[in-house]
């Protein structure tokens, strides 16, 4: 059993033999309130003119909110390491799709195309 996994100070056995983990209601309420507040924060910030930063702020808040849902509502924080790896591989694949295509689209104008 490796001890390089980070379960935030949880019992070492938890990730290997995940006994039924009952999450305290307080955590659910806290995550819920954070999600609500961030929804209205992102709506408010969108009305400010931040130039190109607008999209990055909006997506950063969305990624943070999604992480809260994944970790706490979907219990990923207490999932087995195999489950965590499968989820990360899925997200990694999505990033590959978005990033590689956008690299193409962003850089097309950088060099002239011979014959055009």
């Amino acid at each position: 059993m490796a001890h390089d996994h980070n379960t935030g100070g949880q019992d070492e056995n938890l990730t290997e033999h995940h006994s039924e983990h009952i999450v305290p209601i307080g955590i659910y309420i806290a995550v819920f309130l954070a999600l609500i507040v961030l929804t209205w924060v992102t709506s408010g910030v969108a009305t400010l003119d931040l130039g190109r930063l607008n999209i990055f702020v909006a997506l950063s808040i969305a990624i943070f909110k999604a992480s809260l849902v994944l970790l706490f509502f979907m219990h990923l924080k207490w999932a087995t390491r195999l489950t965590k790896m499968i989820v990360m591989s899925g997200i990694y694949w999505l990033i590959l799709l978005l990033f590689i295509v956008m690299m193409d689209l962003w850089t097309r104008g950088w060099m002239g195309v011979p014959g055009r």
Binding site: W40, T42, L70, F73, T83, L97
Partner: protein, 225 residues
Amino acid sequence: MSSTATPLDQTPVARHHFENLEQQKDASTIGMWVFLITEIMFFGGLFMAYFAYRQAYPAAFASASNKTNLLIGAFNTTVLICSSLTMALAVRAAATGKKNLIVLFLILTLLLGGAFLGVKAYEYHDKWVHHEVPGAHFECEGCQDAGHTPLFFALYFGMTGLHASHMIIGFFILVYLIRQAGKGAYTPKWFTPVEMFGLYWHFVDIVWIFLFPLLYLIDRSGAAK
């Protein structure tokens, strides 16, 4: 939902190809996540199309996005987050063996999801009467680069429509779960269907968490005009 239908008032039994209930549950969890990853790629293609067209026609996307109602969008996001909370609490009620609470929280989840779709239907209707549905009678009043605004609305209807259809499928499963929970089918020892459906419902919530800023929040300051 891989487990056998559990006879009521009996200890749930793992299927013969599993060593014990815990291993069976781990297998269900992994299977559900693999399904959700296929869903990530399903929606991912649409997100890819969105980003590609948004960077190609930024002005059209900015003015078309301003046709959506920010307040309604933010309100609906709040409603959906509430339904995610009640779903999480339903799973917790199942894990702690509170039968009546499972039923209550599942019904609340169903009602909040219904409220979300009701608001969505109102928005669709609003778009319809304003001729903002791509097609022969499409028009985008006062939009910049109006020729490319149908791209935004096609993606708007495609992405929110796919999201809404996931919720409608969720309603059918919710009704089934409420019925089973009412019969006492879920105990702290075995409530895999409730937990797996929770994963699905939260995933649908996450999709909306990204759809909201991408569809409703482009250029709300009006700087591009």
